[in-house]
């Protein structure tokens, strides 16, 4: 089981000890064939189903935020009561179906953004995110 080594490595890189709970979270996040979008509540259900153990919300929040800060997860900028995360950390964009609260990736190569103006006040551009709302 090489994946385990990667999980431990990711956690260490994020400044976290590889505990049972955190490894269970990593398995549910990174052992899937496809990347996916999730909210914390949804991830709680996924991890508890995959691992057959209860896990506290606080641990989920802490771990997800640490993994995000280290770049293993992306937080998606959509307005709403719940925060969405993405296991796809490549630069890409999203369709968003507000009615279903559902996201679909748009690969960076499949969209064209150009002619960007300079950032104001001598600031630097950190990211360019396109959100395409669909109905």
């Amino acid at each position: 089981m090489d994946q385990l080594e990667f999980h431990i490595e990711r956690l260490r890189a994020a400044g976290l000890r590889p505990t049972k709970q955190r490894l269970a979270i990593c398995k549910s996040l990174f052992n899937k064939k496809e990347t996916f979008h999730f909210t914390i509540e949804k991830l709680k259900k996924i991890v508890e189903k995959d691992s057959r153990k209860k896990i506290s919300l606080a641990t989920l929040y802490n771990t997800v935020h640490s993994l995000k800060n280290r770049g293993y997860l992306k937080e998606i900028s959509i307005k709403g009561n719940k925060t969405f995360f993405d296991t796809n950390t490549k630069h890409h964009h999203h369709f968003y179906d507000e009615r279903m609260s559902q996201l679909v990736d748009i690969e960076d190569k499949n969209i064209l953004v150009g002619n960007l103006p300079k950032a104001p006040n001598g600031k630097k551009i950190k990211s360019v995110e396109v959100l395409v709302k669909i109905v």
Copy 2:
């Protein structure tokens, strides 16, 4: 004072009676030279300063949402604890300085978005929003 007529018209169009409080909100929103971005808390301060009267949060939330639904305000899709609104209802995009929680408009003509893929599941594209994060 013709502006007043417009405010009454806007409120009626939004299905709202033109009360003192709602007119005060409209004045603070639409009598400015420049469009601007605001949160509800910030608007409360602006309206109370402009009108020299207290106004309840509930009235602000109700009125702003009705004006938004009628298209006189835009809600901006940025993740965060507070919701941002925009008195600029023209199609446009934003720079966002997360550190300052500050927005700057990007005119639609000053940015190029093209080559959009089709929306999935036979859905229709409702809007395309570009958010440029700056640091």
